[in-house]
């Protein structure tokens, strides 16, 4: 009985220490990637190549999801707003929800599962098949040559993807409310224009997506680089990327929102 208790307490302690170790390890790796980013900017072609895989290939899912989220927002918003006779405010509602929250957050969640997992799997497999070791033996640093370009490609793509998500969402809201339901187009746009502030709403949304981009890609490259060089190791790392970065996005979102809109 007592032994069991001691063992479980020891287990908790063990896992806590392990987690802190891992966190330190990840932070060090993150700094290393920043330190070795010189190559990525000197040879920007490396980043552009990855931008294609990380950013361009994520476009479809971002565009389609943005459209649907905007359409749902339009429908729900209209239903509620018309009870108070203010259905012309639906444009404002759709735009604000997207630009402030849903654009950055949902785009980042999608980005984590589409691009983050792919980055982890690719780096993990390169490690498992000794490609990274081979690169090191050729006197080419794999962190500078493989990891950093992917990291920057992710950081650069994220704000663009979030912006595209929001634009598609607004378009989806317009489609549903103006084209199908028949809300007046003029008031849809003019209300939106007068109520969406560039600094408070758009800029803050942009800043959020930058943070999310850094968080998701940093987690993805770390998990890939740190994964055990086996099939289970890589698949486990891929799952961890999606789970950890989703939690990181939501946690960060709360903190950032508190700072931005409550002026804490």
């Amino acid at each position: 009985m007592f032994k069991h208790l001691a063992a479980s307490i020891r287990g908790i302690g063990h896992r806590t220490i392990e987690g802190i170790w891992q966190l330190g390890h990840a932070t060090r790796f993150f700094l290393l990637v920043l330190l070795k980013s010189g190559t990525s900017f000197r040879r920007f072609g490396l980043v552009i190549r990855e931008l294609y895989y990380v950013g361009v290939l994520s476009l479809i899912i971002i565009v389609v999801s943005g459209l649907f989220v905007g359409m749902v927002l339009g429908l729900q918003g209209y239903e509620t707003l018309q009870k108070y006779g203010s259905e012309s405010a639906v444009g404002t509602l759709v735009a604000l929800s997207l630009v402030r929250e849903l654009g950055p957050v949902v785009a980042a969640l999608l980005f984590a599962s589409r691009a983050g997992s792919a980055i982890t799997a690719e780096i993990g497999l390169m490690k498992a098949t000794e490609q990274l070791a081979a690169m090191g033996m050729m006197a080419v640093d794999p962190v500078a040559r493989v990891v950093a370009p992917r990291f920057w490609a992710g950081v650069i793509s994220m704000p663009f993807l979030a912006a595209i998500f929001s634009v598609m969402g607004v378009f989806g809201g317009y489609l549903v409310t103006v084209t199908f339901i028949g809300v007046d187009a003029g008031s849809f746009w003019s209300q939106m224009q007068s109520n969406v502030d560039f600094r408070i709403d758009i800029l803050n949304g942009f800043i959020k997506s930058c943070f999310f981009g850094v968080a998701v890609t940093a987690i993805a490259v770390f998990e890939g680089y740190d994964s055990p060089p086996t099939a289970e190791g890589v698949s486990g790392a891929t799952t961890r990327t999606v789970v950890t970065s989703s939690l990181a996005i939501l946690g960060l979102d709360f903190i950032l929102t508190a700072f931005m809109f409550r002026g804490l």
């Binding site: 690719e122 497999l125 390169m126 098949t129 000794e130 490609q131 070791a133 081979a134 690169m135 090191g136 033996m137 050729m138 006197a139 080419v140 640093d141 040559r145």
Partner: protein, 270 residues
């Protein structure tokens, strides 16, 4: 003229998680030599190559490459010396996101300012030497195992290094390519004055081309000598290895309890 020593290994010890793999290895490798390292599976041959390349650090002893102790080098100095080394990995380790051509061109593009037209010529020459010039546009996934290994070989000789380590270059090759690759290694070593280290199980083929053979067993050098000495050796160990006999000092089986007991036959007999 006495050939210059390129690699000197002195009293090298190495363990994985406190399990000793190599115990007190001593070797010298000179320029212009082809050296074979043989030994049973799991005897630490790949580990020895990793130690020479500075990928892992010995627990004691040292490896010197052209006079520098590899594991004491700073990162930049280590990379500097690795530029002059080539390594053929046991499983090829081709970059799967690059074509055959780009794999071989990789180091030229990373380390030199050669114009693209010259890189093209050099790459095609290297691929021609391994018989795969026509396959330069393929992706690694489209190659057979033996082809991938030959591309990896072409990649490891891309910058004409002074030391090349081949981890089992002959596995998965048909007898014809095997002969061609064997003589390619010999010829390159002679013409460029480099040093080649071959880890291999192919005793007959490698005895034809090498200058010196080391046998590793149980983490120590069990025997060594020139091919002539090895062929005539009466040491039971070497004799068993060269003639591929099952019975002898080298056990085929990983240590285990008796086979009969594992199959639950022992009890039934008692």
């Amino acid at each position: 003229m006495t050939p210059e020593v390129l690699v000197e290994i002195s009293d090298l010890n190495f363990s994985y998680n406190s399990r000793p793999i190599l115990k007190g290895i001593n070797m010298t490798m000179k320029r212009g030599q082809v050296i074979a390292i043989m030994g049973g599976s799991g005897s630490g041959k790949t580990t020895l190559l990793r130690l020479i390349g500075g990928e892992v650090v010995p627990s004691s002893g040292y490896v010197k490459v052209s006079g520098q102790v590899v594991h004491e080098l700073e990162r930049d100095a280590l990379f500097e010396i690795r530029r002059k080394m080539g390594m053929l990995f046991q499983f090829g380790a081709l970059f799967t996101d690059l074509s055959v051509f780009d794999n071989v061109a990789f180091q030229m593009r990373e380390h030199t300012d050669l114009p693209e037209s010259m890189i093209r010529d050099l790459v095609l020459m290297k691929l021609h030497a391994v018989g795969l010039r026509g396959a330069h546009h393929l992706m690694p996934a489209e190659l057979s195992g033996g082809m991938a290994r030959r591309v990896a070989l072409a990649r490891s000789i891309a910058l004409d290094p002074m030391l090349i380590m081949y981890d089992e270059p002959f596995t998965g090759l048909d007898p014809i390519s095997l002969g061609v690759i064997g003589s390619l290694i010999r010829r390159m070593t002679d013409t460029l004055g480099m040093t080649s280290v071959i880890v291999t199980h192919d005793v007959q083929e490698s005895l034809k081309i090498v200058d010196y053979v080391y046998f590793i067993a149980d983490g120590v050098i069990a025997a060594h000598g020139t091919p002539a000495e090895v062929r005539d050796s009466v040491t039971p160990f070497v004799h068993q290895f060269v003639h591929g006999e099952v019975d002898g000092p080298v056990p085929f089986h990983y240590p285990a309890q008796s086979y009969r007991r594992d199959l639950n036959l022992e009890k039934a007999l008692v």
